[in-house]
Symmetry: C3
Subunit: 331 residues, 3 copies
Amino acid sequence: MSTATPAGPATPADPDPASPPSPWTRKHLLGLEELSREEITAVLDTAESFSEVSNRSRKKVPALQGRIVFNLFFENSTRTRTSFSLAAKRLSADVQDFTASVSSISKGETFIDTARNIEAMGCDVMVVRHPTPGAPHLLSQHVQSSIINAGDGAHEHPTQGLLDLMTIRRAKGKIEGLTVALVGDIAHSRVARSNIWGLLKLGARVILCGPPTLVPRSLERLGCEVAHRLDDVLHRCDVINVLRIQFERQQRALFPSVAEYSHFYMMTQERVRKAKDDLLILAPGPINRGVELTPEVADGKHSAILDQVHNGLAVRMAVLYLLGGKAPEAE
Amino acid sequence: MSTATPAGPATPADPDPASPPSPWTRKHLLGLEELSREEITAVLDTAESFSEVSNRSRKKVPALQGRIVFNLFFENSTRTRTSFSLAAKRLSADVQDFTASVSSISKGETFIDTARNIEAMGCDVMVVRHPTPGAPHLLSQHVQSSIINAGDGAHEHPTQGLLDLMTIRRAKGKIEGLTVALVGDIAHSRVARSNIWGLLKLGARVILCGPPTLVPRSLERLGCEVAHRLDDVLHRCDVINVLRIQFERQQRALFPSVAEYSHFYMMTQERVRKAKDDLLILAPGPINRGVELTPEVADGKHSAILDQVHNGLAVRMAVLYLLGGKAPEAE
Amino acid sequence: MSTATPAGPATPADPDPASPPSPWTRKHLLGLEELSREEITAVLDTAESFSEVSNRSRKKVPALQGRIVFNLFFENSTRTRTSFSLAAKRLSADVQDFTASVSSISKGETFIDTARNIEAMGCDVMVVRHPTPGAPHLLSQHVQSSIINAGDGAHEHPTQGLLDLMTIRRAKGKIEGLTVALVGDIAHSRVARSNIWGLLKLGARVILCGPPTLVPRSLERLGCEVAHRLDDVLHRCDVINVLRIQFERQQRALFPSVAEYSHFYMMTQERVRKAKDDLLILAPGPINRGVELTPEVADGKHSAILDQVHNGLAVRMAVLYLLGGKAPEAE
């Protein structure tokens, strides 16, 4: 796949982390909804310049030496936490996991107390995952550290949105003007929400596709097209992002059966043949082979699944660098 | 608050860790009971010189580079373990967690076998938490590594005692001659015990305050005053340390109700108004807001709760430095 | 004990990790069965040159700086995982644990997906433990990273075999011509299997000793002697390796009682007296004192239990160095 590497404004291997690229002035990364096109582009450009670090045998730059990154996870997530940890280590930061059980922090106050305690030990960036939408935003008002939202309920998962954008931009050379379909459980997906904001801001047309229970018509108000049959829109798509069916989260069945879901929405070789020749297929892991896409498609030439994982590391390095490289204001 | 920084004998950023400050010659930190006033003061002075490291953007000194610190925890403790881990990393040591379940080491021999195995992998300092009083002492007789007691049953928690002392000394400029009340479950508290030894050795007057079930009159034999009503002694206190009610440890109720406990012992704004103007309030976390102290008091100007956490890191760096900086005798 | 230090071909502290010693050209360490005598000797020689690093106060060499080692464990193992983690840190690599539950990877595909995801984040060496024999071999066909088998079902545990060989060679100065008995549950033991291959290749005579349920006569086909009474072969042994009885794995009783097992197979002082004067006793931990050997024997002068742990670290450093020091081929 062609790899577009825009001339990035950043030189992240530069040992002086005090001068991040100019369009980025925020202290936190809470969601893509509040970012401008220029800010999103600044993160993607910085990520490009970090991308090659993962291919070196010495996978390390000194940018955040002596800085401390806390993973404050109130939901299990081995993959995202691992990606953030490796990104921080590659920037030479020290990483500390703080995995709390939600039960021990049933009161909102105590969630903030926990974060304040962490901050009092010395912390530059907190990577926060929480089941409650808005929890990272609340935290950002009560601590001095930079906050990265690593997923808050069904609200946003901005670094996933950014890595999807990076993967599309690398493969297609641009995002403006592309037609991108998000397929699956849009209503309950933070990944969908961050993708929608990011894609719309960068000028893509977004189609939300799935059964009415998972993709209600009301989502059109976000500025997206809504479709209930993948085969109706398949031929128009440059990119299809098949979201994971989160069996573990579906308390009640939102579609009649997995077989029926797969019949209508699974990416198969047959559907790939009906699509554009240069269709790009994304799927945030872990994937359910045989549910959202067939093994052949997952491992086929249109699939960018492992590129997403690779780019996720670069995006997280970029975000940690842009937030953590600032001189701490107070502690 | 005024911050007293005694001229410390240590220059801990010095890359030669072989010459710790002279009053400290011990290999282990097992409790404050066995330390002299001079030894306690040496730790506090060393901690002062480490305190500012946490405020730097590069939070790291090379003192223990290549040394290995094991966290050997036989009880859950995210906070204390995290504080020790960060302290070790800030000294450039490598840290390894070894969390054992008590069930797998029901025999005393096997507890020692576990530690000997760890030592055979190469270990300079073992940070040990164990539900059995005296477990770290037993270990110190069977291994060559330095042992730090990170809490042994209801016996001692010396680094918590030291960080409380440091917090008082920083706020008040001294400890000698102060009146300090420990409020709550004194009988079952290792934090209380370490505080009592440290405060008495440094010349403070100690009042133990709580219901008779938690503060039996017999504790007077330690050289402390015993009081059963906080309001009787409040006006005489320079410092009040409100201990956490450990609901999780109280098998049977030791007081009639939480409401009644709070009525008599919770630090409220009203009680703060009746106390000295410069009253200092400590509370080892995690706090139960609305039980030991009100949210207003916890977040108010008399509260040193977050200073305690900050100082905890400096104290643990100091202890690791004083013990781990020595040339290992044998392995 | 005498310590034989063969002139090792490696100079592992050399900052250029691109030139490992010549006899070793493999990308993976999957088992001792497929290694030649020369390859095994190359690992042992490299381990010798790393052994003294653990005795330094600065326990660190820069050989794998910026390389990433993943611990991918699908079975619990605090000891082995800790040993690999420390070995990697001592080589200045970054280590990342990825502990997966087997339940989440019930499909073979998904096990490989997990590993491919890890690799996409950037990974030089994967240390893999899995309950299924052959799982690491399967993985080695689907990823670009180097794979180290850290135990696959009852098949092999090659670094345990290597550390046992190293311990014998250090104590005896050679392996060729020695008589070594493996005592216990041979049939279900990956440790036994790796020991058998390694010992036979290096020219030792191997006796497998235990009750017929655990040591079937059919094991003679491996080129070993089979014995059902320890007292029959004791006087001929230079080395006895008493394997751990894995109570947690024995679904049905494979011998009548622990007391009976110990009566026939436990190493006691009385048995030690009947054996050769320079008998060497190995026991892979964690040991059951009073089952496989008495406390007196475990702590006595013939026991090399803690030497095994110490040598395990050197062996794992050597293997990580030999595999991870190569320039990554592709990622």
